[in-house]
């Protein structure tokens, strides 16, 4: 059970909590807690819209990640373009799109569609009316941050999702399956996890 908790804290990046938990329970974390700090710094940079910094940090952490993940790299550069547009630096944005994003589209045609969508932002003065306005949402930053986080975890040979949610899903699925065959005490309240007798 402790391992599950530690796994959750590590994957989600709660460094201080993981450190405290290590002290209190004696559970060993699966990776060096130092790497979690690095990973969280990267995540924070993306969430603040500071893409150049995020790219530098992840390259310091592991230069292979962006070199071997063309889709991820494209999304980071896409986010960089979005941030330039958000900050009204439209000339720079145009130059960036030509210099940096166009070659990505040329190297890999699968990116062309998304590239077109992103560049469409430049065409609208009032971006709130733009059909691709969702790219400017902070949720887009979240998406990019998660993608990057997952890639870092994978490169550290760590599972990119914590085990706890999957286990809970399996519990619910198993109970559903068993319901067809037997009558037995359920766990209905996942927070308290008390066993409740079956209703007659």
């Amino acid at each position: 059970m402790n391992k599950l908790v530690m796994n959750f804290l590590v994957t989600e990046g709660y460094v201080e909590a993981a450190e405290k938990f290590q002290v209190e329970s004696g559970t060993q974390p699966e990776v060096e807690l130092g790497t979690i700090t690095d990973r969280m710094a990267v995540r924070k940079a993306v969430q603040s819209g500071n893409m150049e910094d995020a790219i530098e940090k992840v390259n310091d952490l592991d230069p292979e990640i962006l070199d071997t993940n063309p889709q991820l790299f494209f999304h980071l550069q896409q986010q960089r373009l979005i941030e330039l547009i958000r900050n009204g630096r439209l000339e720079e944005a145009l130059e960036f799109a030509q210099e940096e994003l166009a070659p990505r589209g040329a190297e890999n045609h699968a990116f062309l569609e998304e590239l077109e969508r992103t560049v469409a932002l430049l065409a609208f003065e009032d971006t709130s009316g733009c059909p691709v306005a969702e790219l400017l949402d902070l949720s887009q930053r979240q998406k990019t941050a998660s993608e990057l986080n997952a890639a870092i975890l994978t490169s550290q040979s760590h599972e990119k999702d914590p085990k706890l949610p999957s286990l809970l899903k399996m519990l619910i699925w198993a109970q559903n399956q068993l319901d067809e065959k037997a009558s037995y005490p359920h766990i209905n309240d996942l927070v308290n996890a008390t066993l409740e007798e079956p209703v007659a």
Binding site: P63, E64, D67, N69, E95, Q98, P103
Partner: protein, 648 residues
Amino acid sequence: MPASAACTRSEILVESLSSLDTMARLKALRDVKNQIIGNKTKKLSYIKLGAVPRVVEILASDSDVPLLVQSAAAVGSFACGNDAGVKALLESGVLPHLLKMLSNSNSQVVEAGARSLKMIFQSTLAPKNDMFQFRRVDLILALLNGGNDNVAEVAASVLARCCETKEHQKILADAGCLHSLVGLLKGSVKGREAALDALAALTRGNQETSVLLDMEQGNDLACFIKLMKDKSPRTRLFACMCLLNIAEAFPSGYHQQEWDIKKCMLSTVLKLFEESGQVGEESPGVFADLVTNNEEMQKAAFESNAIEKLAEILDRGVVSARQLEGVLLAIAELCSRLEESRRQILNLQAQRHITMALESSIAGVRIAACTCIKSISRSVKNLRTSLTEERLLRSLFKLLDDPSPFVQVSALGAASNIVLDFTPDKAAFFNCGGVSQFIQLAQSKDSVIRQNAIWALRNLLYLADMMVKDRVMRELTLSILVDLISDSNERVQEQALAFVRNLVYGSVECVQLIFAEDGAILHAIERQLCVASCPEICIQGLYVLINVAAGSEHHKEAVMEFVSPVAAGSILVRFLEDMSNPQLRIAAVWCIMNLIHAESPGVFSRVLRFRDAGIQLQLQKMVEDPILDVKDRVKAALEQFSALGTSS
């Protein structure tokens, strides 16, 4: 003007790489590194601007940790998935410096260097031969055993790329790599994968090293069997490769539950077809190896719907060359013996994909396509209906002129089967110029090509009509045929004789063909029958005589002159007495039977001559021949003798 400004910026950056100021160098290095990571276009442009030698210079002469780490990272990035980068790096002499880094006292430096080395070795340009100099193998071994997971992983992946020749495999095995690699199997996921990759490469096609690996495991394959069910697809694939290599090293069986293990491998590899990347690409090829020459495995594969899954991959359209090659070879193996597989693959309309593969720019794909056609065309039913499509024929025959002799030979193999079709005029093959090509290739300097070309011609003449035979002989010419019959290579001789056998079969007119120019062809064959030691050659030669002896009286007498001259022994006795090969004995008896066929005028004199030469006596000795077919033939011949009223 933005474009040229950027250009100048890059040029300045490259200059700064050689700055005397350490901080400036470091900043430029980081800048370049961050620009090129993930960015193929930038990599190429910085290579053009001459950044690589300057980065290597930093790697070689600087000792500051940050400079070393950053330059190693830049090197790795230049090399990553980029052959131009690898080339530039090797030309700048990066290898010895990277290797030196691996013995650095700072672990960060070692890891950075190791990563870059791995990137370089993933390229086909990797300096594999160089690794066997200056005791570098020992260095790599030390890294394997060093205890640093990441570095050990890199060492294993470098080794995996250095196993291209049997010699290299042996050197590495002798140095103790197998033991160290097996040690990594219990470690981290990535280390395990790299170790398995290396073990598979070390044992590939090499019985000695495969046996050594088996011994290393104490003849216990449980470890690999378990890894076949691992979470990671790469691990599963490499584990299968290792097991396969070991199985091939013990052809007479290596394990009690061999069949179960092989079936498990079959289903494992079959599922791996759906994976992306390297695993999806390599798994069809591994599958092909798994079912090679093993009819039971081929049946099991058929029942697991392997043909369907392979056809599905072909239908996908965008398939890498390696994967396509593997898929076609797998189909070829599965169809090599089983008619149901051939039927299924044709029902799934695979011909168009195979035809396109014949036109591929990759030689390996062309060869695989030919092998596929060769297997499928073994189906008599399908020959006339499914494989005579003009585009396929044209593309196939085009390959007879392929620059690669390997492609030529495989195209000949496929064409040989196809020309066996039963339309007597064989017009389609003349029309696409294939026949002329066969004849050309029959005069090649390469004996394997000669042999296969004559084989194709032999098949072409099978049950062909007189017009075809005339046309072929006019183009081939008598003198070339005579040369081939006395070729320096025994396999070629055998095929040449088989060609003549088909040439003279069928009618008196056909037989007459070999009497041209004073019977030059017949005499050449007779010479071979006297001197050849190889039974296969003699068998074909005898069948020529058998077919000639089925001709006119004149023809029978000509054969008789040779096999049993008046007042002399008969060379047939030698063949009748040869207990090493039943086919030889059968052929000799047939020859006799055709010569004493009751309805020909000179039969009685021939019977007497045979009797005088001791033939009837010899036949009587063979009444209890151990081979049933021979016994039957002998019985029939003796009946003929007694029916003709001779007793003795």
